[in-house]
């Protein structure tokens, strides 16, 4: 094995350049107005329509090592949080640009890292201070929006959020009125359910629909589905507030118009025409169900079973009348199913054609490829115990109380998956809901599904955090101001040791002479972020957005609270895309911030973006193993060991 290693030039850090170039692809997918992108594969001619940063990266085949590290980070983040990937990549790009600029100015890596880490602490503190708790018990504290007015730029060491002298009172009563007003404009079916619950639970019922709306980030339709799902779950659990994202599944149906998207309790499966007739037969009955964890076939063996090799079967007589092994098994299984009076079998794997046909004749509905999470939910709600082999079934493995109904017959466009069947339980303890996403444009389905999950997880994290962050760039604006204040403080008092570290009494760490430069550049990264979002809303030009942001920062220099308030106003007055009902501000003297972000997601995204920058910034060489000197010998930048 040969080894090649390239030394990355220090002043022109190639890795950072790659990172910042890669981040450009996410520029148009920030903010509520996202642009679709076509990604075409030149070799196969296939193309995909993508909208989110994660899907773009997924479709691109990134071969460079920086690209792989980026993809790995984004993928992990997306798997856990389902939202914020675009912001992550964009900030990684913006801050790697800042780091590059620092290197150009001859600032050492160590200084860059220490100052940027401090900058991150400042930003995370801002998040903590800006966060608005969504308390469940006191309606009056529904949204106490406290931003500490930091007069002394050093005072942010007092990390505890405190009521400011000038709080932005989003008056609680006003808020509630506002939300009722919203509800009226929504489809009547939801509002009636919700309003009736609100009446009976008023003092303790947090306004989930309102929280959700502020988190929709332009995907109003998707968020409405999330709210519906959550309402269905709360009804089912008879809890005042419920949204269990793990008990939500999506079912994507092409060929229907988008308005037909809806939420159903239980699960929805697509079955072929023959099975649909069984479903017809079974509807409006209390059914018994068996759950099979594995395949439903005679030859199936459990995972980890090794089929014996080298076994020969011998027999002393020829018996042509004997049934085949499969037939014997089938007879056994069918007898068992009939004895146990099973009507529906949910199988996590596949079922053999023969079994399906056999069951069909006896009016037993067999559903294949059921997700493990669905199986689990039905196990809980029907009392059924999943088994691996059908022959294991006994009386106490069979669940009761299942219901089957035909949701929609789609057989005219697809015979194989012709009918959508809705399977539910009559018990209230199920909690499983299915969201049906539809579109007549097939290529859009993936995006719709992604948007739904992004909204679902935004609500999930908000409820988990019990807090929200002011959105629409307000939090970032406050961060910029804090960063700039810190930087200016350094310029004014250059001899004094740096603000944050001065208190911790560290004789080893001498004052970082480049802190102001690094912090300013970091703030510029956030500025770029806000401007990009503003440009993407379509209201601002690139120059206009930049000017507006800078003007604002100048106008409200030194008073942190105001900059946030007025900035949000600026956003609200000009930007209609954020709001379903743009008329909402007019009545209130104090500005209502109508877009919120998730606290933990934002903090994680920022940290992860900076982690990426640090990883790449600290890397000075690539070690490539398995390089053949003969084939790669011509490459000048490779050194061989």
């Amino acid at each position: 094995v040969m080894l090649g290693s390239t030394i990355i030039n220090h002043r022109q850090h190639v890795g950072l350049q790659k990172l910042s170039a890669l981040a450009e692809i996410t520029r148009s997918s920030l903010g509520p107005n996202k642009n679709y992108k076509f990604i075409q594969d030149d070799t196969t001619g296939e193309s995909t329509l993508v909208c989110s940063c994660f899907r773009i990266l997924e479709s691109l085949e990134l071969t460079c090592s920086v690209g792989q590290v980026v993809y790995e980070t984004i993928e992990t983040h997306h798997r856990v949080y389902n939202t914020g990937s675009g912001c992550l990549l964009f900030l990684a790009g913006a801050w790697s640009h800042a780091a590059l600029e620092c290197l150009h100015r001859g600032i050492s890596v160590r200084h860059i890292i220490s100052a940027m880490s401090e900058g991150m602490e400042i930003c995370l503190n801002v998040c903590r201070q800006c966060s608005i708790s969504i308390k469940r018990r006191e309606v009056s504290e529904l949204c106490p929006f406290n931003v500490s007015t930091v007069k002394d730029s050093h005072a942010h060491q007092q990390l505890t959020p405190r009521a400011s002298e000038r709080p932005f009172n989003l008056g609680p009563q006003k808020k509630l009125k506002l939300s009722r007003h919203f509800r009226e404009s929504e489809s009547p079916s939801i509002s009636t359910i919700h309003a009736s619950q609100l009446c009976s639970y008023e003092p303790f019922f947090p306004d989930i629909a309102h929280i959700a709306e502020t988190l929709s980030h332009g995907c109003t339709d998707a968020m409405n589905l999330v709210v519906k799902a959550s309402q269905m779950q709360s009804e089912c659990n008879q809890q005042d507030i419920a949204f269990d994202v793990t008990k939500v599944v999506t079912c994507v149906l092409p060929g229907l118009v988008e308005e037909q998207a809806t939420v159903l309790p239980g699960c929805v499966v697509l079955v072929p025409a023959e099975q649909a007739s069984v479903a017809h037969h079974l509807k409006e009955q209390h059914l018994k169900v068996a759950l099979i964890h594995g395949d439903l076939a005679a030859t199936y063996r459990h995972l980890g079973y090794n089929r014996p090799k080298g076994i020969q079967s011998v027999s002393d007589r020829l018996d042509l009348s004997r049934l085949s092994k499969e037939d014997t098994w089938m007879e056994k299984v069918v007898t068992l199913l009939l004895n146990l009076e099973v009507n529906v079998i949910l199988v996590s794997g596949v079922a053999s054609e023969k079994v399906i046909e056999c069951c069909w004749r006896r009016n037993i509905l067999v559903v294949e490829k059921v997700k493990a999470s669905i199986l689990k939910a039905f196990a809980v709600s029907t009392g059924a115990i999943p088994v691996t082999y059908a022959t294991q079934l006994s009386k106490h493995c069979v669940g009761t109380g299942l219901k089957v109904s035909i949701w929609r017959d789609l057989s005219n466009n697809d015979r194989k998956r012709g009918t959508a069947v809705n399977i539910t339980t009559d018990g209230l303890n199920c909690g499983l809901v299915t969201v049906i996403l539809t579109s007549s444009v097939h290529a859009k389905l993936q995006t719709l599904e992604d948007q739904f999950w992004a909204c679902a997880y935004r609500l999930h994290w908000a409820l988990k955090d019990k807090a929200l962050l002011p959105g629409a760039g307000v939090t970032e604006m406050v961060c910029i101001q804090h960063l700039q204040n810190e930087a200016e403080h350094d310029i004014r008092n250059p001899t004094e040791s740096n603000g944050v570290s001065s208190q911790q009494n560290k004789p080893r760490t001498p004052a970082n002479p480049y802190r102001d430069v690094v912090l300013t550049l970091m703030a510029d990264g956030l500025k770029d972020y806000i401007c990009t979002v503003m440009v993407n809303t379509g209201v601002f030009s690139k120059v206009g957005a930049r000017a507006a942001v800078i003007q604002h920062l100048q106008d409200y220099h030194g008073t942190v609270g105001d900059v946030a308030a007025k900035f949000s106003q600026l956003f609200l007055h000009t930007d209609t895309c954020y709001n379903a009902t743009p008329t909402s501000v007019e009545s209130s003297e104090t500005p209502a911030i109508k877009t919120y972000d998730n606290l933990c997601v934002k903090q994680e995204v920022w940290r992860k973006a900076l982690d990426l920058v640090f990883l790449v910034l600290q890397t000075d060489a690539e070690v490539i193993t398995g390089v053949d000197r003969k084939t790669n010998g011509a490459q000048e930048d490779l050194m061989f060991l």
Partner: protein, 563 residues
């Protein structure tokens, strides 16, 4: 038709250290390793040429395993260092850099090879006896009554690897966890032979580092959590049986060869009957927890669950050993005999813990068990894998303190201190060699410079490396500081034990300075040591480096079979 291919002759390299190609490669390797050294070291992205997984690292064990060379001479050094790393898990970069610098210095000095070897050997003896002696000035006795030194030791290891991308509070959190895990694995009862326990690491990706935690007992991943009946688990002692044999119900022990079976015979159901028989015995014997290293037949699982036995399958061999130690159970290797009563063990209780998307079953030990599980969380996989390596390293380093309860001052101070000690000592032992005095002094100077340049390798800012003339600790001066304000900008030394004061005198490393006996730091200092190195592994690293360098100096020919 056979064809005879003429064998190509072997390649013989005479005096490899005089070969330019080898020297270039040695210096490239040294450059590569030096750039990784210490907390400010640079990372390397390791991947293969067909776009495999990218690893960002600066850890010697990962790096050196990837750096295989076409040149056997390089591989000789590499393997030697890797061998040290596999035994001690720490000080790999120190060893490699010292070894390569010694070779370079020997070449520069122009001494005969055998002279260099003798001098190196003698000085190594001086160093080891000084380090092991009572009045060693760069050693700290570890006090088992306080965890402070242990946390410092762990923190030094963890913060020396920047690819973990930890903030200071995060690094401290992990250090404390490492010490906590270490203490949990030291058995408390002192009857009989004490046996160290084990820390198992579970990685959870995508979550904040501060969510990492240590638990006594074992945490087992349970993907099929819906089989668990939570009410069964709590608050009672559970009789446990462990199987290392597969209970999948197949004929896996057959081996090769054919078997003829009667057409009516159903081997599957016969084995299943035997499995169920086994299940009955286990239930009769009052077992509540049934664990198998491999697969358990679903029917047996169903039967056992029906008898309210908790079943865990596919535990894997690595957890098996720890679980048998935790429960005090003997793993059963066959299903053909009755289970002897002494094979059964006991666990205290089972609880369910949730970490991110992972649902885990927590098996609590019934008494002292010295088994614990460390959950490591990090924001992405690259940093998490480095963190895992670093935590294992820390565990090892902490365990070595049981063998030798002391630590060396880190941050380059031990190296400069040793160099000053040798410079002072060398004049006392002249004339005992088969070499001239000049040759000896030249060799000793090379040795000291090698030690000092390892300390200087910690600085990547192109600042200036200094040593003070009282304690001979290591200091760095930022590049942009004027010399007049030296005391103000120096702060403290590398290990943090010595503070700068106006009366102190410094000299640049690799310049001549008057010989002096380096003084140990007085006990009365108010400063806390900040960086500590593992005593055992650094001592071994020093020996391995010098001995490997001597071996390399001794190589006359390299004969390579090119076929």
């Amino acid at each position: 038709m056979s064809r005879v291919v003429k064998k190509s002759p072997s390649v013989c390299t005479d005096l490899p250290l005089d070969n330019t190609d080898i020297c270039n490669k040695l210096s490239l390797l040294k450059q590569l390793l030096i750039s990784c050294f210490g907390p400010a070291g640079r990372l390397k992205q390791i991947h293969n040429n067909i776009g495999g997984r990218v690893i960002s690292t600066s850890t010697s064990s990962v790096l050196l395993s990837a750096l295989s060379s076409s040149q056997p001479f390089i591989n000789l050094i590499r393997t030697s260092v890797l061998n040290h790393v596999s035994r001690f898990n720490d000080c790999g970069l120190f060893t490699a850099i010292l070894c390569l610098t010694l070779l370079e210095q020997a070449k520069q000095s122009g001494l005969r090879r055998n002279v260099s070897i003798i001098v190196n050997k003698h000085l190594l003896g001086l160093c080891t006896s000084y380090l092991q002696g009572q009045n060693c000035g760069c050693k700290v006795k570890l006090d088992f009554c306080s965890s402070q030194y242990f946390i410092t030791l762990a923190f030094s290891v963890i913060s020396s690897k920047p690819a973990c991308v930890l903030t200071e509070p995060e690094a401290l959190h992990i250090s404390k966890l490492a010490v906590q895990a270490f203490l949990l694995t030291v058995p408390c009862n002192n009857t009989g032979v004490a046996r160290l326990g084990k820390t198992l690491t579970v990685c959870v990706e995508g979550h904040p580092v501060l969510d990492s935690a240590v638990f006594p007992g074992l945490l087992v991943d349970m993907p099929d959590i819906f089989f668990l009946n939570a009410e069964n688990l709590h608050g009672r002692s559970l009789c446990t049986v462990l199987f290392s044999a597969s209970l999948a119900g197949d004929l896996c022990e057959l081996g090769d060869g054919n078997i003829e079976l009667h057409g009516d015979a159903d081997t599957d159901s016969q084995i299943l009957d035997q499995l169920l028989e086994l299940g009955k015995q286990v239930v009769q014997d009052g077992v509540n927890l049934f664990v198998c290293q491999k697969v358990i037949h679903p029917v047996l699982q169903q039967y056992l669950r029906g008898q309210s036995v908790t079943v865990i399958e596919r535990l894997g061999i690595s957890l098996m050993e720890s679980l048998s130690q935790l429960a005090g159970a003997q793993p059963v290797a066959t299903l053909h005999t009755r289970i002897p009563p002494k094979a059964y063990g006991k666990v205290k209780e089972l609880t369910i813990k949730q970490f991110g998307s992972k649902t885990m079953l927590h098996i609590h030990p019934s008494g002292e068990s010295a088994i614990c599980t460390m959950i490591l969380c990090h924001r992405n996989d690259t940093m998490l894998s480095e963190l895992k390596v670093v935590c294992q390293k820390t565990e090892h380093v902490l365990r070595l303190t049981l063998r030798e309860p002391c630590a060396l001052m880190g941050g380059g101070c031990t190296e400069t201190h040793l160099a000053a000690y040798i410079r002072n000592k060398k004049t006392h032992c002249l004339g005992i060699f088969c070499c001239s005095q000049t040759e000896y002094l030249l060799g000793a100077e090379g040795f000291c410079r090698s030690l000092e340049s390892v300390a200087a390798a910690l600085d990547h800012k192109c600042g200036n490396s200094l040593t003070d003339l009282t304690h001979a600790h290591y200091w760095t001066l930022p590049a942009d500081v004027v010399e007049d304000h030296m005391e103000n900008s120096l702060g403290v030394c590398g290990c943090g034990l010595v503070e700068s004061c106006p009366s102190k005198k410094w000299t640049y490393l690799n310049t001549k300075y008057p010989e002096f006996s380096p003084a140990p730091v007085s006990k009365g200092t108010h400063l806390q040591v900040r960086v500590l190195d593992s005593f055992t592994s650094k001592l071994s690293g020093l020996q391995v480096a010098v001995e490997t360098a001597n071996l390399a100096l001794d190589v006359q020919y390299i004969i390579q079979d090119t076929n």
